[in-house]
């Protein structure tokens, strides 16, 4: 067989491939097909570059189309020129925190937790400064909320487990919204090789890609869990990265070093604590109420459209 095939022979051998039963011959033909496809693609590029050079134009690099470029445009994007939406955000339920209040967080679990859950919770206590753990003996969450209101807490987090760590509830006190998340791909801290150890400095926050009006609500909710002024000497970072309605969580320590050969600054990261992905299930307007609540947003088959290119956060 020749080294590379012409395009007519290519089409013929490609159609015959699934019918061959001889394994040795089939693998040889498959190699030839792949080589000739590559060769044809390269020749096209060289020709187009030649033509462009003769004319004097620049050759542009082709950019691949991804779902983020093809997605349905969102009407609810917050633009910086909008006075009405910014005034609405400034008079939100989280606005009391942004005037200089420090948070106090309560973390609990579901009933009868296993060993893996308790270790996960001890990692979370290292993430949030000024946080406390409560052993769960009560069945009603509304009684835990009453206890938290008396002792002047500002947030409650509940982590629950069905053989694997699977869910998370964030409640903002005193009147604020509750959010339900679904956790997947949970990696505990002790399983990470070459990790760093946590310290008690106040961390910095990074919130990526929360563009729509719903996204701003959730972004402010995450921001109200941490103290407002970070301590830069601690070099600690917590990131919430949003992409296609999935939120990725990381907890790192960074180092800025100067590379002498390149004469520019490089950033190195070392992981400290847990890493997991979250997905929004629903947001309720008042406190936790499974019977009589009103929903700001809920993901349900009967109401939302079924399309790959539509995102809400």
């Amino acid at each position: 067989m020749p080294k590379t095939l012409s395009p007519t022979e290519l089409a013929r051998w490609k159609g015959l491939l699934p019918k061959l039963k001889n394994r040795m011959r089939k693998s040889q033909i498959y190699k030839k097909v792949k080589q000739s496809e590559k060769y044809i693609k390269k020749q096209k590029k060289i020709e187009s570059n030649k033509i462009a050079k003769e004319l004097g134009k620049k050759v542009e690099k082709q950019v691949p189309l991804t779902i983020e470029k093809l997605k349905v445009p969102d009407e609810t994007e917050v633009k910086p020129e909008d006075d009405e939406v910014l005034a609405d955000l400034a008079s939100d339920e989280f606005s009391r925190y942004f005037s200089g209040k420090t948070p106090k967080v309560l973390i609990t679990t579901s009933l009868k937790p296993r060993k893996s859950l308790i270790e996960f919770v001890s990692d979370l206590i290292a993430v949030f400064p000024n946080s406390f753990y409560l052993k769960r003996t009560e069945k009603n969450i509304s009684r835990i909320i009453k206890f938290a209101k008396k002792n002047k807490y500002t947030d409650v987090i509940v982590v629950h487990q069905d053989k694997t760590i699977s869910g998370l509830i964030v409640i903002h006190l005193p009147y604020g919204p509750t959010a339900f998340f679904k956790l997947t791909n949970v990696v505990q801290a002790k399983r990470i090789e070459g990790r760093a150890f946590p310290s008690s400095h106040f961390p910095e926050l990074i919130l990526n890609n929360f563009n729509s009006r719903l996204g701003h609500l959730i972004g402010r909710m995450f921001a109200s869990l941490f103290p407002q002024r970070p301590q830069f000497s601690g070099r600690r970072v917590v990131t919430f990265h949003n992409q296609r309605d999935y939120i990725f969580f990381h907890h790192d320590r960074y180092l800025i070093s100067k590379a002498e050969q390149r004469q520019r600054l490089d950033i190195e990261l070392q992981e400290i604590g847990p890493a997991f992905t979250m997905k929004l299930k629903s947001i309720q307007k008042g406190l936790f109420d499974p019977v009589n609540a009103e929903y700001i947003w809920i993901r349900r088959k009967e109401t939302l459209p079924n399309s790959r290119k539509r995102f809400f956060l």
Binding site: S91, R213, A293, I298, R300, P305, F312
Partner: protein
């Protein structure tokens, strides 16, 4: 078509649907939440005068096109609902959450009302009736609009079942009885979220409960509900009845919108693209269109038949109340003038347009018949060769009078909008016409078959 919406923050918005323009009036303040809205005139001549009620204890009157606050009344209690009594006087009835009912006289022709006032807080509306119903935690109140002499109210809430009160006697006339016990022999909890009267029958009420049921009550029949329907596992939030009295539209706490036929008690149609609780539903008074708003910050408008919305407009706040204006389309000034003339001619006031006046002035009078005959003869003799002049004169004589006659006939016909009040669907009207034509074909086919059979029978006998 125009829609007026009241928000969670104290703003009032008015939108036109075809052009997607919005105007906002008011100051942003989260303590001035709007709970309900009505029109200010009982026979709505204006599209833009609106009364809003706040649970803080304040009632305001707005002019939505120009953005002026006409009046403000305080010293109410925690307000839930406000509604206009369509009687010979303009009376506003308000209902608070504790059960206090307050009726005030606020008509624009009142002696105490000042039209252009700089301090809207100092307007006075005198009080007519006030009485206490000792009912706690009211969720909804409705006024029976078809009763003129003895006005009746319907109340319901969490822990308190359906009750009907009369305004003159200030007493409870009718009280509903609870449904029989569970399978576990436990009493069913009482929780009413929304009420609605069926429009042409003053004795039937539709009710949505916290157990996700829809119930029909008949005052004249019995104290327990006539029919019960179980729907979903989430709370039902809002109910609305169409103008013909046949369809009921309800909404869910999660954003589900569906339509029920009251004759079969079955779900007929579902509507999509709501992703939060629905706070208010409004139906157009003449056309089959629905407007929906809620916590998802979008205004959706649907036809009765289609699950996808016609248009969805992004309002930047959460809206809690809606009003649908009775306009049908973007009316130009000519159409508004024609409407005015129609109403005036019904009241035996004849007003002529400019075109009509010119026509009547240019035509000669009927008293001089000989002159008309002379004119026609002369023109026919002289201008036989010039066809244009003959044609013009003929048109001048014949067709313009016929155009005037046609205009007169159109003016005294009943316009289609008044007819379609009884039929809710304009599409059903067309359906009937098509069915008639199809029925004629079927009749002709059947007669042919009958003739054939008769001939066959006669042949067999022989």
């Amino acid at each position: 078509m125009k829609v007026i919406a009241g928000t969670d923050n104290g703003l009032v918005k008015s939108t036109t649907i075809e052009t997607k323009e919005t105007k906002t009036w008011g100051e942003l303040n989260p303590t001035y939440e709007i709970s309900s809205m009505t029109w200010w005139n009982s026979f709505p001549e204006n599209d833009y005068e609106v009364v809003t009620a706040h649970p803080k204890g304040i009632v305001r009157v707005w002019d939505v096109e120009h953005g002026i606050q006409l009046a403000e009344m305080s010293k109410f209690e925690k307000l839930v609902k406000i509604q206009l009594l369509h009687s010979y006087k303009n009376l506003l009835t308000t209902c608070s959450k504790n059960g206090i009912i307050d009726v005030r006289n606020c008509s624009p022709g009142n002696q105490n009302f000042v039209p252009n006032c700089k301090k809207p807080e100092k307007q006075i509306f005198p009080r007519v009736i006030r009485f206490e119903t000792k009912v706690n935690d009211i969720n909804q109140m409705q006024v029976d609009l078809s009763s003129l002499e003895d006005v009746k109210l319907a109340l319901g809430g969490k822990g308190s079942d359906l009750q009907i009160w009369s305004m003159e006697n200030k007493k409870c006339i009718w009280k509903a009885k609870n449904v029989p016990n569970n399978r576990l022999n436990l009493p069913v909890p009482i929780h009413i979220t929304d009420l609605a009267y069926i429009p042409n029958e003053s004795s039937k009420i539709v009710v949505s409960t916290g157990n996700s049921e829809i119930r029909l009550y008949d005052i004249k029949a019995q104290h327990r509900p006539v029919h019960r329907m179980k729907i979903s596992k989430f709370l039902l939030n809002k109910i609305c009845v169409s103008n013909c009295g046949r369809f009921v539209i309800f909404s869910d706490v999660t954003g589900v919108l569906q339509r029920i036929d009251l004759r079969n008690y079955q779900v007929v149609q579902g509507y999509k693209l709501n992703s939060g609780t629905v706070k208010d539903i409004a139906i157009h008074p003449t056309l089959p269109k629905i407007a929906v708003c809620g916590y998802s910050r979008f205004l959706n408008i649907y036809n009765f038949d289609n699950p996808k919305p016609i248009s969805s407009i992004y309002l930047k706040q959460k809206c809690t109340s809606l009003l649908f204006s009775p306009e049908t389309s973007l009316q130009t000034e000519q159409e508004k003038l024609q409407k005015l003339q129609i109403t005036q001619r019904k009241n035996n006031e004849y007003v002529a347009t400019q075109e009509e006046e010119e026509m009547w002035a240019s035509i000669p009078n009927v008293e001089d018949k000989n002159e008309i005959d002379n004119i026609n003869k002369v023109d026919n003799i002289n201008n036989v060769d010039n066809n244009d002049n003959v044609g013009n004169n003929d048109n001048f004589g014949n067709n313009e009078i016929s155009e005037n006659d046609n205009q007169k006939d159109d003016s005294f016909d009943i316009p289609s909008e008044v007819v379609s009040n009884s039929l809710d669907d304009s599409s059903t009207f067309n359906h009937q016409n098509q069915n008639q034509s199809q029925n004629k074909k079927r009749l002709s086919v059947n007669t042919q078959l009958i003739k054939k059979r008769k001939n066959k029978k006669i042949k067999k006998k022989k």
